[in-house]
């Protein structure tokens, strides 16, 4: 869907390239997270996709078309754009803000109005209540919800998001991350998401592109990167607790072995928990096995520390397994 080929960019005054022959392919419908330390070129790369920054070399194709041959303004009207500080227009109502691109595209007013209401509901804001409000009346989290709604307004196939939740407090950030994933589930969009937070990348990304000094270091699924970091830099970047992070991605139900379970009530783990939650229960109770229970409290098997170890080493290639009937994947 989005193909970057030997993309390069140099800024005057800097000896090295900001983006150095980046080659990357993002399949349609996926969330690709660009992550790396400050100055790695992730934001520059994202901004080249909608030509807010012009590449020096290389090509960018969206749906097979070389975007460097298109009119940048037309291009941008077909790409959703969400930035960290949101950038809502203070002198326009929420409805007018969301309607920006539809109006630029010349939509009929009735269609635009309906779409605005549809989007406000989608991002969890009651249309009748928020339509006529102004940005200054909203909280940070609400502003960014509107920002996302505004980006989705013309139903673009591609969305660019530059640390969209970075300016929010941790609680709001977590909530919006979950909400955004929920919103995405119903839509088929290709998303390029920039962040510097590895936990956010693991949570949001179908695939993560780790960048450093303008170059691509590793590009793979979160599980694969956590299981097999490409080099010492990635190893350090994902954090020394990467085994725990992997466990957080594995449903507890996938590690269960048959059996009656343990008697200790503290050593119980609900069916929708992760393997990491199971480990946490083990540490709390001091035993190395816990029971998986379903919503009714019935036992469905045992999880052992040994089984988790096996899972982590045997599945080092990150390949998918058949989910246990009780897991939520």
């Amino acid at each position: 869907m989005i193909d970057l080929d030997a993309l390069s960019k140099a800024f005057p005054g800097s000896p090295r390239l900001a983006v150095d022959r980046l080659t990357l392919s993002i399949p349609a419908g996926e969330v690709c997270v660009l992550i790396g330390p400050s100055g790695c070129g992730k934001t520059t790369t994202m901004r080249m996709i909608n030509r807010m920054i012009e590449p020096d070399a290389g090509t960018i194709r969206v749906e097979g078309r070389n975007i460097l041959h298109s009119d940048p303004v037309e291009l941008r009207r077909s790409i959703g754009y969400v930035i960290q500080q949101v950038g809502l227009f203070p002198h326009w109502s929420i409805a007018d803000n969301i309607a920006t691109v539809p109006r630029l595209l010349g939509w009929e007013p009735t269609r635009t109005r309906a779409r605005v209401d549809e989007l406000l509901s989608l991002v969890g804001m009651e249309p009748a209540q928020y339509r006529q409000r102004f940005p200054r009346e909203l909280s940070g989290g609400q502003k960014q919800r509107v920002g996302v709604a505004r980006a989705l307004a013309a139903d673009p196939p591609v969305m660019l998001m530059d640390e969209p939740f970075g300016a929010l407090d941790p609680i709001t950030r977590t909530r919006l991350q979950a909400e955004f994933l929920r919103i995405l589930r119903g839509l088929r969009k290709t998303i390029v998401f920039v962040t510097h937070d590895i936990d956010e990348a693991i949570k949001m990304g179908d695939r993560i592109a780790i960048m450093r000094d303008g170059r691509l270091v590793q590009y793979d699924t979160p599980e694969a990167i956590l299981a097999q970091p490409a080099d010492a830099f990635v190893d350090e970047f994902v954090g020394s607790d990467r085994a725990l992070k992997r466990l957080a991605l594995i449903p507890a139900a996938d590690v269960v072995t048959a059996g009656a379970g343990v008697d200790d009530p503290g050593a119980r783990v609900p069916a929708d928990a992760s393997a990491r939650d199971a480990l946490s229960a083990m540490l709390a109770t001091g035993v190395d096995r816990v029971t998986l229970i379903d919503a009714n409290g019935a036992a469905h098997g045992t999880i052992t520390l040994a089984a988790m170890r096996v899972r982590l080493t045997a599945r080092g290639d990150g390949s998918a397994i058949e989910p246990h009937p009780l897991s939520n994947t």
């Binding site: 807010m52 303004v73 754009y81 950038g87 002198h91 691109v101 630029l104």
Partner: protein, 206 residues
């Protein structure tokens, strides 16, 4: 104020002239300054140059400026209007440029990123948001222009200054009072109304 009551028509005519000249100058100055100001907002060299030139013009004493224009355009309204436009340039250009530059960067970034053309960004986003600062400049320009018009009477531009000068040469205090106080009142009214407009715009565009 018996004189005023007996001659209120003359005063009104003088006031009318005064307002007409002042408004003409303000409109011309605004149009010119808007164009230059927008350019200056985007180009730092233009900004510096425009402020240097207009600042220079602003420092010239009113009467000296009017006098220096006489060999060029003679006496009359044109003389005064040119002087007023020249004086208003500095504050208006500066405020247009500053107002545009003070629009938060993320707002213009979002506007461009969503696919607005540069002209659309300017007229739909930057200028509306710069309006409070621009009006603040207009307020100062209006007061300046009213002040110059008073002196302009001496080069036959008309306005309330005629009452003052006439009163001075005839040593007739009531005329001086009337002319001076009316001019002051006009300045205060203009300042207050534009101040209210500025406050209302600020509340809207925060």
């Amino acid at each position: 104020m018996k004189w005023l009551i007996n001659h209120w028509e003359d005063v009104l005519i003088a006031l009318g002239e005064h307002v007409a000249i002042a408004l003409t100058a303000l409109v011309i100055a605004s149009v010119v300054s808007l164009a230059i100001g927008i350019w200056a907002a985007k180009d730092e060299r233009v900004h510096r140059f425009a402020l240097a030139v207009s600042g220079f013009l602003y420092t010239i004493p009113t009467l000296a400026f009017l006098a220096l224009l006489i060999p060029v355009v003679g006496l009359g309204k044109t003389n005064a209007i040119i002087c007023m436009v020249a004086f208003s340039l500095m504050i208006l250009i500066r405020n247009v440029a500053t107002g545009i530059r003070e629009v938060p960067e993320e707002v213009t970034d979002a506007a461009r990123g969503m696919g607005m053309r540069p002209a659309e960004v300017l007229f739909r986003v930057e200028l509306p948001l710069a309006l409070p600062v621009i009006v603040a400049g207009l307020r100062i320009a209006a007061v300046t222009v009213i002040s110059v018009t008073v002196v302009g009477a001496y080069v036959n531009a008309g306005g309330l200054g005629t009452l003052i000068f006439s009163g001075m040469s005839n040593d007739f205090a009531p005329k001086i009072w009337t002319g001076a106080i009316t001019a002051c009142a006009l300045a205060v009214v203009a300042d207050l109304s534009l101040s209210r407009l500025e406050s209302r715009l600020k509340a809207r565009a925060v």
